[in-house]
Symmetry: C2
Subunit: 137 residues, 2 copies
Amino acid sequence: MRFSKTSEYAIRVLTFMAYDETKVYSANFLHEELGLPYRYLTKLMTELSKKKLVQRVRGREGGFCIKKKLSQITVKDIVHAVDENMDFKRCILGFDKCSDDSPCSMHKYWEKHKKQINKMAESVSLDDLRKSKTVKL
Amino acid sequence: MRFSKTSEYAIRVLTFMAYDETKVYSANFLHEELGLPYRYLTKLMTELSKKKLVQRVRGREGGFCIKKKLSQITVKDIVHAVDENMDFKRCILGFDKCSDDSPCSMHKYWEKHKKQINKMAESVSLDDLRKSKTVKL
DNA sequence: TGTATATACCACCCCTGGGTAGTATTTTTT
DNA sequence: AAAAAATACTACCCAGGGGTGGTATATACA
């Protein structure tokens, strides 16, 4: 019942960067502030830049800054950027054919949570996360 | 947003066996009916018997049958039997210190879903699953 | 123009969950 | 007692996510 670790990192980094959306953050600075492994972080940032969520600024004094409007980046966008096959619609027991008409045994107990979570991921934006971020976490 | 594959298998097998809770099901029969890899299935069943969810009947004509009352086995019991470190309480961003007092940026958006899912897993029993099982899945 | 400070790219390592193989052991049937 | 039909145990394999290392490339500033 969780996102992949890489998804967690992506959300943490972007939420941190959202504090000042115009600033250019170097990978080293993010590494020191957030405590993520430097190498893994740079790999992640490269991925996020390929997916157009952040803009790269190369060379000395370079780094990354957020490319799009904060309100236009949702949790789902972030998760999908780093975890392509994350499926919010998936049957909890893994049945391809599971549906309202032909439900698996867990269907009626899981379906509403799935829908709610999907909706949350689609509607909560980076701007929302920025607002609810505390100093400590 | 899913259980581990082994958890899926465990739920599928137990729900199938719940159809006739007194019957002894051989691993081979379950394998043929459910289509799970035979070897993996026996490994899983051994695990479930160690966790006292099923009873083993050794020797020829042997197999497994459900040990406890169907209403006393919850989804959470099943998941925990095969996946010890499945944590229904975990912070979605992986912060140990995340709490209502010191929330991570996702906390207010995730907390209620987490609570609901946890409650569902604790309250839905194998008897409930048996009743909602369709012929096909 | 050289050097320092950035990211970019490629290959690799490690651990874990999922899955396989061989063989031993138990019990029923004949 | 032997054969058949089942589980039990131990070890191993494989793929993928998470994480590291080396080095190339880009840019700013002295």
